[in-house]
Amino acid sequence: MTGLAMAAALIAAPSFAAPAADAPDPAADLKAFQKYFRDKFPKVKFEDFVNGPYSMDEGLYRQWKEKEEFPPYEFALDLGKELMAKPFGNGKTLADCFPNKGVGIRQDYPYFDTEQGKVVTLELAVNQCREANGEPPYSYVKDEMAAVTAYMAFTSRGKPFDVKIPDDPRALAAYENGKRYFYTRRGQLNFSCATCHVQSPGERIRAEVLAPALGILNAMPIYRSEWSGMGTTSRRFTSCNSQVRGVPLKPQDEDYRDLEYYLSYVSNGLPISGPGARP
């Protein structure tokens, strides 16, 4: 039984001395994070990291380019545009909740909301808007949520991620929590997010070519062939957890929002490329 073998391996693992906690320094993290990927993939152009596995594999790149001729997320974009402008029961629209009517603003999310004292992602902001206007929230993982975030990403393409960490200890704590979540091993496979997306991008796990963590959220939401449809950042996080045989948290759980905050911040400077298409 692999589970028991895993348990044995865990127990037998030598316990390393944990490094001493040092003062959080997001700017230094960002520099080290981006340098790591540039050094690991000297041939990949910096802006190309947003193209995930397609930047790492020639055969995949060609199939992607062929799909991009008439991308499968086309229908989601149209639906997203429609939903942004469709009046709620009270006459207001989703667009009314966002700066510049939601156009060209994707790169500013997630942000730390000092009033709510928490990280607000684009997906959370969409549902907060709907609920504030007496509308039921969208499912976080696909359909309408994927469509509106696809539209917002599309109108922001090319704009560099610009996630800010305000001078607020709670914001820094959220960032650190996101980082912890990213590097923490979990599930029966004993994988962290970093196991796949830092140590092994470009390699195949079973059939899939792993995407680098750098720029991975710039392409969200994505049309995945594996899903035969669109999925949001929430969907990506929960499905990653299940794949390592861990029970996923609820979409937009605090840990997931903090993770998105961390991952987006360390990709600052890379252009928004969503909606993306992925195998």
Binding site: G59, L60, R62, Q63, W64, E66, K67, P72, R206, A207, E208, S225, E226, S228, P279
Partner: protein, 165 residues
Amino acid sequence: MNGSSSDRATLSRRVVLQGIATIAVAGVAGLRFDLTGAFAAANDAYPEDAFRQKSEADAIKALYGKTAEASDKVRLDAPEIAENGAVVPVSVSSSLPDVTSIAILVPANPNTLAAAYRILPGTTAMVANRLKMAKTGNVIAVVEAGGKLYSAAKEVKVTIGGCGG
């Protein structure tokens, strides 16, 4: 572009064998085939029967009523490794004159025939589409030109099957 493929030699051998088998059958049923095989003729119905066939030979027979020979004038473009069996980009073109029809077959699928296209006068002998593949196997392009059938094949590796689940 990585054109049609290294599998052509094996395919042509197979097609030849099938050809022999078909001649034997056609000796008896030849007349019927001549009548039903005119897929390229105008206002024909959806070829329901051809789409139900399990084997490559049966599907081609049901669709065209004749057999195909391998030709390097049929160009089949498909990836070496499909990123996902649910969406495999496949395109077919041909430099043969008087092309009237292009069909694409995936023998590894439950039903072999994937798509059949009628190329009307003035239309270029080229088509690109996206197909599902259940597992690794050949994609076969059949082109009808001047009343004869020509084919090409290419193996596509499928690591994530396109039949869901």
